[in-house]
């Protein structure tokens, strides 16, 4: 039964299974285990980012292409519901309309980008997505009549979502369901082809697979899931703005989460997102204490300043690309 739910995706390590079960348990009972608004915010962020990182891993780990436009699709989802809920009557119809419009926009954008730039080398794709994403970011802050500009949009949500616990479980359920769908996808024959393209594009082409088509489909799929993640996050925050979904810093965070958790495995997304989001919210307190004890030593307090936590994650990132390209999940699996 569990194997079928996980689509037969091998966990491959007892320690990994325990950690995953622990994260699932913590997220499933988060409103009761960790009281307080801050803790619940962290739990929602973990759910949303698991989804976002998993969809990004479909591109980076399974397809072998680096996109810098993933937060753009995240943002499209957020803006979709935000614009719909602030212009239409507050209700599920508006949520559905916003979500569908956002999905349609993401689908067409990712299709065009993919078809235009996936014919050439991976490096072009990375450069072009970077350009497109930064254009979109400027567009979102310029079209202030529609998007609220730099301030973003604050909006009211349907009655049901106004209680925090229900809203949390909606986010959790959708994230879990979509994560299982992604697990199903990565264990399908379709992803076998993607993997073969990643390993040897020329040979796959010679075997008769249209590599552009496969990569473009993967690109669209990743974009759609990212859009849903954006919808969920905006519904929870009841706000969407450039800084919560479109910021380039989030793109960097995503890269860090995928690589540290483990590229090319969906479970890596869970672990990467959980570690990163928790560290982002709680590591700073630890660094503050450390910086306090180092007062008086030259340079060291600045290095351990709470705002510099990304420095340490950056170093961890570089080291893990060199030494543990399979991330935490790969390390755990190698042990058994």
């Amino acid at each position: 039964m569990i194997t079928r739910l996980l689509s037969g995706d091998r966990i491959g390590s007892r320690a990994l299974a325990v950690i995953l079960a622990g994260i699932l348990f913590a997220l499933a009972f988060a409103p009761y285990l960790f009281p307080g608004t801050r803790a619940l915010d962290v739990a929602v962020k973990v759910c949303v980012f698991v989804l976002l990182v998993a969809s990004y891993d479909l591109l980076l780990g399974y397809t072998g292409i680096v996109s810098f436009a993933h937060t753009m699709f995240f943002g499209i989802g957020g803006y979709g519901v935000a614009i719909a809920l602030s212009r239409m009557d507050v209700g599920w119809a508006a949520v559905a309309a916003g979500t569908l419009a956002a999905l349609a926009l993401s689908l067409s954008l990712s299709f065009v980008i993919g078809l235009f730039s996936l014919r050439v080398k991976a490096i072009f794709f990375a450069m072009i997505t970077l350009a497109v994403a930064s254009f979109f970011q400027i567009l979102a802050s310029q079209l202030s009549g529609l998007t609220g500009g730099e301030d973003g949009l604050t909006f009211r949500v349907p009655e049901l979502l106004r209680t925090r616990v229900t809203a949390y479980y909606l986010v959790f359920a959708v994230a879990l369901a979509l994560f299982l769908v992604l697990l199903r996808v990565v264990n399908s024959p379709f992803v076998r082809v993607l993997l073969s393209i990643r390993e040897n594009e020329f040979r796959s082409e010679a075997l008769g697979y249209r590599t552009v088509i496969y990569r473009t489909i993967a690109n669209c799929l990743g974009a759609l899931v990212a859009t849903v993640a954006g919808v969920l996050y905006a519904l929870w925050l009841r706000y969407n703005g450039p800084n919560t979904t479109l910021d380039f810093a989030i793109m960097i965070d995503l890269l860090l989460m995928v690589v540290i958790g483990g590229m090319g495995t969906m479970y890596g997304a869970v672990i990467g997102a959980a570690i990163f989001v928790v560290a982002q919210n709680y590591l700073q307190a630890g660094m503050k204490a450390l910086a306090g004890t180092l007062k008086g030593v030259p340079l060291l307090p600045e290095l351990f300043h709470p705002d510099r936590w990304l420095l340490w994650f950056g170093i961890l990132f570089v080291l893990s690309v060199y030494y543990f390209p399979r991330g935490i999940v790969g390390q755990l699996r190698a042990k058994t």
Binding site: A122, A131, V321
Partner: protein, 324 residues
């Protein structure tokens, strides 16, 4: 220079004339054109190293923006050190501050480039995916280290006294600083063409971009050449960052990442590894950014994206395709 393909330069000319018709007022047009050329030349300074590095070794450095940012930050520190000279009301005293500042920026960029090549890029030659990841990681760490050294606030970078203000000829106002940026940019471009076309090293670099294996088979170590080009490109990026910082007059750590988008557009336009293409592409991007920024500010960056799509539809291999 035989067999030069004149169509891309003609495209630049067409953009110039088209803008004149659209804008209408010649004085505004001259001001915008000077601004566009200055911006284009600065972008060229920052992009030229990256495009050669890519042409030579197939390495794409997503952390190139760091060299730009470091150049700008070093300039802030040097200008502060020579504050008296920079504020004095004499051109020579100003140059006494500006020249060391620019040299320090180029030196800092070059040294950082050497370090980067050795530590970050050398272990991942030939692996595009890892290159993108690792250089992005280098970008994160370097940006944070800039925060550690110079602090997280926006820094002001005032221009030297003699470069403030503008010349007014008739009803045309030309900013002094932009004109000097044009002069410096053209000087560097001329020097670069001289090195590339009239020296042995230049010959080897051009040959290496064209066909790396052949140059190696002739007994030249392309790796050493590559390290030299990487360091020189980083130094140029540092210089470009210094000049761009003075252009904008305020600096955040994101200055490099913002420029990187434009640089990428230029590199995609230019045909990867062609200096002439890079020059033309940078001018196009600078001019179009300024014209469209004046005509319709909302779509300023989008205009460059459209320019890129247009050029790629016209010449899918870039303006000056390098034979590969």
């Amino acid at each position: 220079m035989k067999n030069v393909d004149w169509k891309p330069p003609l495209l630049v000319l067409a953009v110039l004339l088209g803008a004149l018709l659209l804008i209408g007022s010649p004085s505004t047009w001259v001001t915008l054109t000077v601004a566009g050329i200055a911006m284009g030349l600065l972008i060229f300074l920052m992009a030229s190293g990256l495009t050669l590095v890519f042409g030579l070794m197939d390495v794409m450095n997503f952390a190139h923006g760091v060299f730009i940012a470091v150049g700008a930050y070093v300039t802030v520190s040097t200008m502060k050190f020579f504050a008296a000279a920079a504020g004095a009301d004499s051109l020579w005293a100003n140059l006494g501050a500006l020249v060391p500042a620019l040299l320090a920026a180029a030196l800092a960029g070059g040294l950082l480039g050497l370090f980067f090549e050795r530590v970050i890029i050398r272990p991942v030659y030939g692996q595009h995916l890892k290159q993108i990841l690792i250089t992005t990681g280098g970008l994160i760490v370097a940006e944070q280290l800039i925060h550690v050294i110079w602090g997280p606030d926006i820094l002001q970078l005032p221009r030297p006294a003699a470069l403030k203000g503008s010349f007014v000829i008739g009803d045309v106002a030309l900013e002094k600083y932009r004109l000097s940026a044009v002069v410096i940019g053209l000087a560097v471009f001329a020097a670069m063409l001289l090195v590339l076309n009239r020296s042995k090293i230049g010959l080897l670099i051009r040959a290496g971009v064209e066909n790396k294996e052949m140059v190696e088979a002739m007994g030249y170590r392309i790796r050493r050449l590559f390290v030299a080009v990487f360091a020189a490109g980083s130094a140029l990026a540092g210089l470009g960052g210094a000049l761009w910082g003075l252009y904008e007059q305020s600096i955040t750590v994101h200055i490099g990442a913002q420029m990187l988008v434009l640089i990428f557009i230029v590199i995609i336009i230019d045909g990867l590894g062609s200096v002439l293409g890079c020059f033309t592409g940078a001018l196009l991007v600078g001019l179009v950014a300024n014209y469209v920024g004046f005509l319709s500010p909302v779509i300023a960056l989008g205009s460059n994206l459209l320019l890129m799509v247009f050029v790629l539809l016209w010449r899918p291999q870039g303006l000056y395709a390098v034979g590969k």
